[in-house]
Subunit: 270 residues, 6 copies
């Protein structure tokens, strides 16, 4: 693992723990953050020893969202021609989006463990994760509306599939803050925990469970669920048939079957 400015990354027991690590800045997402997260998830994708990722925030909060300094610096680079500015802004937004696309399309499951503030860009980030878990007193807010802009790095695109259309609009229009309990009620997080320690312990346990499964099976499962977010049922059926045409020839099935028969725990190769 390289040395990161905005993150701390640890790998143990096939679980990569990726921590946003700017606690004194409420883990605000600066230029380092946006660049390094791509590198980290490229490493996750390429490293067979990583089976699952846990994403959390160091210090008292998950993250307060995009660093306002970064926003300001983008603004200061604009010129006089509106058309050329638009072209530059469009490319900048696409570039920022790419950081969370890397999370979304990571071949391994990504579990977000959220405590404290989870605001603005942080909502965009957790929307790109596979599952979300939080402390009861975490605070979520689609803060972009109060910056005078529509959220543009993923919240509006991915969250409606997770929490449904009705509450989505209320949260996006008002920027209203909700706590972990309400987040669980509307499906934004899968479960809440009483404290940060309980949260991390709980999420690590789920991660360990997933890490013990066949990586071939996990990969296919994730690919299919991701695919279905955007495709038709008939296309999805054809796609999994084509996918499993190869994957059912893997050793992992025989291994799993044998383990099942002998009531033993299978050990799958990376």
């Amino acid at each position: 693992m390289s040395d990161y400015q905005a993150f701390r990354v640890e790998l143990a027991d096939k679980i990569a723990h990726v921590q946003i690590n700017r606690p004194d800045k409420v883990n605000a997402m600066n230029a380092d953050f946006w660049r390094e997260i791509i590198e980290i998830f490229r490493w996750v994708d390429a490293t067979d020893a990583v089976r699952v990722v846990v994403l959390s925030g160091a210090g008292k909060h998950f993250s307060s969202g995009i660093d306002l300094m970064l926003l300001a610096s983008v603004g200061s680079q604009l010129g006089k021609d509106v058309g050329r500015n638009a072209d530059a802004l469009r490319r900048k937004i696409l570039e920022l989006q790419a950081s969370f696309v890397a999370v979304d399309q990571c071949r391994k499951p990504v579990l977000a463990a959220i405590h404290g503030y989870c605001l603005g860009g942080a909502i965009d980030l957790i929307s790109a994760c596979d599952m979300r878990y939080a402390t009861v007193d975490a605070q979520f807010s689609i803060k972009e509306i109060d910056m005078g802009m529509a959220a543009d790095v993923g919240t509006l695109q991915r969250l409606p599939r997770i929490i449904g259309d009705g509450m989505m609009r209320e949260l996006a229009f008002t920027g209203r803050s909700i706590d972990g309990a309400e987040a669980a009620r509307i499906g934004l997080v899968n479960r809440t925990y009483e404290s940060q320690e309980a949260l991390l312990a709980g999420v690590m346990a789920i991660a360990a469970d997933i890490a013990a499964k066949s990586p071939v099976a996990i990969r296919g499962t994730k690919e299919m669920i991701r695919y279905m977010r955007d495709h038709r049922v008939d296309d999805g059926l054809e796609y999994i048939a084509t996918w499993n045409a190869a994957m059912l020839q893997s050793e992992d099935l025989r291994l799993a079957m044998t383990a099942h028969m002998t009531k033993q725990k299978p050990e799958f190769a990376d």
Copy 2:
């Protein structure tokens, strides 16, 4: 504001309150209703002073749905050739649908405040609104099934995205009546209130909150959520990047940022 037969429309504090106003007919949707609602939402779209819409029903109920007189008159205009009748009916249905498409595609958020009966066509109507709020004792029913027909002005198209596929089918097949409390549980409404007064006060407060946000930001947010109902995540990301390429050059960002720094409440231009 023009003079309407089926509605009462008031504009105050940037909020347009649109009331279905045929209380002695349980706010049944007659020919006036279907024509005027398009005019009203065209006016909303074109009037910068309107930032948000609240839609409610005058009297004891929200609405009992389509006026049976109107249905009967459509039937009486059919001729002898099944093909030409089909052509005429198809165009009539598309014409009625257009009334609620105007609500759905309105550039400003539309909040439905529902009390009493909300039956048949009224479910089609609230499915086209952004958010729904109700009294605990409101009564919802997809009544069309008991008229011997499949609902054809929007319920079957828009509601599955709001309440999910499983309960959707039960309600559509059985026409079962549910109250506000159950409606909240399945996500049909965002929140319930004890009385009609509390409902209107609560919804007006949410509307006022939205009316104070940047209209540029609200518009983009609504457009994106509407877009995501029907499009892929990657298309949505590209679309918001293109949209914000222009909108991030608006004054509203700087205004919001300054307000944020100075802890003041920003005042956005219409």
Copy 3:
């Protein structure tokens, strides 16, 4: 009704009760099962006297999923060329999928009544039904992950639309077992019952309610909801307009209208 090996089928009061009937094998899905279910639903589609289907399991469980013997026999038929094996496996998977596509596309509503185990392939099956009801102590698990494979007969394709994206991933990655109560909370089932008897009685009552509705209206409603799972709102509006162009010329509307006026219960032709 023919004589089936893996099912018992009864028709009474316009309701077809289809029971998986291999109780000594925990209703595991063997070759008979996969072939017969297509025949049964073809018969349902073609038989006007059937208005609605209830699907349940004989004995102590709904079903433990695919018969491992069947899986093993598929594996044993593979040859030496990976490409030709892939072709054969792909066609086998498509063939198995077709059994549940027959359930999904059945023209009549299909209600699943679930008690005891509902594992692996059984989740694929109930995902293809219109509605799901369960005993409080039923046990659901996406078991495929523990067989070293991604589920490939429908769970990953259809379930996300029913329970939302977040919990979907947790259940699919971990294979965690949930009971009826949790299933109800996340929208997997519409309602729970205290016992198998109460379950069957409750589901039969809902089925009877649906069986009394206009079959023309039920068919259109099901077709539209199925269509919306995969299509845009504007396409759905155009499709229902074209559909109802013919169906609104049916006698059932007049019948329903008259019954409504005279406060009588209408009797619709098959």
Copy 4:
């Protein structure tokens, strides 16, 4: 027929001849043009006596495209806020597009007869017609590129389906002028004629042929081809099955069949 400023409209023998009628301005598309063309096609849609439309230009040219005065006036209405300008421009473009959407979605076939200049906006217009015919010496050019802008009222959207992707890009990037002969070779027009008189006579003959067909059959055929431009083959098959479910019950089939048997020419009702 109303009195139009930018058009002359004649109806004879079930054919509406719609002529752009600003010959001294090279039939440039001014504000009148954009507004009146919607009215005209609304009238065409609503008038059963119109079975087919021929669209041509009065004077020496078909049309030189959008009136530069109109473009200039749009520009002059812009304010200081880039975001609000963008909103206003976006709505203006959508409004102009709606004029050609009315042509594209007209329920009757529209045949363009083109001579002389057919430049810029005129290419957008003919791309929205069903078929195109031209004199050998007509001149076509996607002129927008030389105005410093991407064409935005339909050329880039509809033309690729007509002439294929390769030549499309060359014509759009270079604005190169092509004559009728080359237009026929690449599929932009269906046929060329030696003179304006021969062109009009030829197109009127095709129009008369179409006008004698069953209007029910023509309407369904146009709807399906339009639908297929944007939809999948399987969706198209399902849609025509639903459409013809009603239309095959029309008298026109029996009429056509009888005429076929008796070798007579059928007369279809409007």
Copy 5:
């Protein structure tokens, strides 16, 4: 090969020659035809010894389209309720479509060899083939328009992708007859031949060429081209990557590579 009423089927040198064989009825498509063609293509799909299919007509013509007797018999089975008739007609159309879907989705390439009349339903049929070849004096016409109906078994769905949008509409609206030479010019057929003998000899030579290729490669190629008719470029790239993930592990590549090196003709297993 079974004994067919409406076809003659021969298999030689890995080529199945499927001939419509009702020459005294101008190869009109009767009930036998529609049923048997499904059986034949099911056999083609399941028979490894068949690598490619040639489809032609016995006698002086390819086919005059649907048998009018069949159309009349469908009409005579309709009852009094327009809605139930619509349901029955819809299902009948879907059933007829399924016959040509079997051709379209056949896993082996299907080459149509056309001489004499190719009218109405015959155009629907050849639109579902992979490639089309004809004699110069063959006659093609979308005859349905003269039967008072929109073509509903595939022409309007599949032909626009083959001949482009402009000429498609002219042929569909007018039913105009075109010969082989014009058919070649607009891309409806790939090549013309002077006589029926030359046609069959030519098509058989192309078929023999294809039959000698790797069946694994042919299958993947056909699947991808069929897929691209309805899908996005990015989806297509992902699909072929998933497909070839298995297929590139086939022996055929090594065989082809070796043959290439040694300048010998490879012999691929069925």
Copy 6:
């Protein structure tokens, strides 16, 4: 410009001339080729001084396609588990595809100038370019079929939109070689030239023409045509409206308009 192993790149008069430069290897695509082409097009995208790209081959041929050494080395890296091999192959294919996606999505127009052999992977490459031009005696062949595999880096995905469905299948199934003249007839290339010199001169002239246009207009035009390959007409109209909402505020329009009025040639900023 960096130093490349497989390419020579020159920039003059706003035109980047990218030459495949392994003439002694018939410009076969080796590992250097696949890596460097991404770098080159990233540079093109980021360099405002580049307005258009010309792509050609050094020596006697355009390119013979993928280097067989590369294919062999991929094969040699496979292990024993079919499933893990499939995963590795799938990622390798996606990686190769990315090289041509970079060409396809390049923000500047890319013109291919083809002479001599253009085989296999070279067809995939030119399918990703905007336009294609060739010498009359160039030779094109979808060679993959003779390698025992379905083409998987773009030919099957992009070419059907360019040459139509019918001839596409013939060329893909047979691998038949066609010359420049036939390529022009079927739309694969836009024009042919008598010699390599005439070809380069001709393509450079077209490139120079494009380089003189407004880069804002060219970019929007390319983006829209690319978008329409995969999207609906209504989506395309909405997208260009959103795009031009910003771009019509560019200086380039005013510049173009003034130039038009004064009959002068405009000079657009990069």
